[in-house]
Amino acid sequence: MNSKNENIKKLVISKPLKLDCGKTINNFPLAYETYGKLNENKDNAVLVFHALTGDQFVAGTNPITNKEGWWVTAVGPGKAIDTNKYFVICANVIGGCMGSLGPRDLNPETKQPYGLDFPVITIKDMVRAQETLLEYLGIKKLLCATGGSMGGMQLLQFCATFPDKTFSAIPIACSSSHSAQNIALNELARQAIMADPVWDKGKYFLKNVQPKNGLAVARMVGHISYLSEKGMQEKFGRKLQEKADYEFSFNADFQVESYLRHQGYAFVERFDANSVLYISRAMDYFDLSKQFKGGLVEAFKTQKTKFLIISFSSDWLYTTKENKDIVIALNSSGADVSFSEIITDKGHDSFLLHVPEFLKTLKSFIDSMHDKFKNEKRI
């Protein structure tokens, strides 16, 4: 977890960015990665927004963790978002910990890492920073922008704030505002981190340690919410972890316990606890209708973008109902919108997994949009 790694591309944004909280940041780094090549007509750029614990390394191998990129199921040569054909861009959100300005970076005023002195950021702040990256890359209009979960929320914000920056958009398994249940689960994750004595009001960096136990529990909460009841039952049931019978102890007897512990402690190796606090907070504050006086319909009023909203039947974190509310708002504002609910037991995680119906839908849409965008550019 070394964000100074030479494998991280960074754009230093000198233009001051006034945040929603009132503070201003300037000369801040935005880390990003690109895949494929931008063609001459510049009609093949696809922007991907990442989710809470994601980063800019969408495809191939993540050079920092040496693991697969987080969306290899969908992005890469010959994949649904084919990098032989499309130029894929993804940036690490501000507040994150993969090279973009975050709470681990040095505060120029104190010459110490920010910790909790880092300004509270919003989804809109993240999106505005990324728009600067598009400017830098010389892309006036994207072919498509997409993202799941918090990535989808960023995308909705992006379309509302910059109505003419993308020809098409695919928000996946997301919501136009965080529900009480979403906030509650995020609060649970934050409380787990803050209850770890190592966290020390966010100043753990002074001792060069991480609140590992709290952060691992926070990740476990997340993981439960990404699966479905049925999917979990089918995957783990009551199966025991490499043993014939109960141990009559509090060790991980059940496979599901072992899985959660593994996920929790693996996460600690690649993520910063304060980043989880800041990014989850940004998600909780997200409410697109609150930003626009006439509500969600008003937010999409000037839309020319062609939308495809995708939800998953077993997702209880960002339900089909919440996704359909976005469709209804887009319909009411007269926007061009498609919607598909993919039937699967894999829960919220479906967008990251090999779900053939989903990947087929994604590919069909992007390819058909590319044909339309090329025609529009020609005219």
Binding site: L308, K324, N331, S332, D336, S338, S340, K360, S368
Partner: protein, 197 residues
């Protein structure tokens, strides 16, 4: 291309906005978009059909027309098309009301239960009719509310719904249906296409 879709396409002027309820694989939407520069939207329940529409670059919303028409604002389309599904709804009257709320005009096609072959099957064989346009048997048919062209005619009159045009279709042959020729056309049309609203 089905004769039915050709007739429907002829009823709709160029450069309008059309919602196709139960749009299937998007054949009609494709025709309307390509040949008449019509801004189309589809509503479709079946996942494979939705997939095919998306593949063709046609905007489609996956959903159930019986319960999800409320999402479309009042008078937001010039035409709303409902092809051969009115009879399959639990509450066709309610759906029809919704269609008239959403569209300035509505085009409905129905398989005609008054077609002579249908009548003779029931009359001479005493069995529920199975024909090319009504291929299912009584126990697995999705058609809950079969009606005739005459029935829909009378229904519109009763509910004060303005009938603008009715076309009868039999194979490749089409004809205009009016009150004056209703009895005979009701006997010889396989399909009735109503332009109302």
């Amino acid at each position: 291309m089905k004769k039915e879709f050709k007739v429907i396409a002829e009823l709709i002027p160029n450069n309008t906005r059309v919602l196709d309820v139960g749009c299937g694989d998007g054949s009609l939407m494709n025709l309307l978009e390509k040949e008449k520069n019509i801004e189309v939207r589809g509503l479709e329940l079946n996942q494979d059909n939705v997939q095919q529409c998306i593949h063709k670059g046609l905007p489609v919303i996956q959903g159930n027309a019986e319960t999800e028409l409320h999402q479309f604002p009042n008078q937001s389309f010039d035409y709303v098309v409902l092809s051969q599904t009115l009879q399959a709804f639990y509450n066709p009257e309610k759906v029809l009301k919704e269609l008239l709320r959403i569209g300035k005009s509505v085009i409905i096609s129905i398989p005609n239960f008054g077609y002579w072959k249908v009548r003779t099957k029931l009359l001479f064989f005493g069995k529920m009719p199975v024909t090319k346009t009504l291929p299912n048997t009584w126990y697995n048919t999705p058609n809950l509310h079969m009606c005739t062209i005459k029935d829909l005619f009378n229904f519109c009159d009763e509910k004060n719904i303005n009938i603008k045009k009715v076309v009868g279709v039999n194979e490749d042959h089409t004809s205009l249906i009016k009150r004056s020729n209703l009895e005979i056309k009701n006997l010889f049309s396989k399909l009735g296409i109503f332009l109302i609203g």
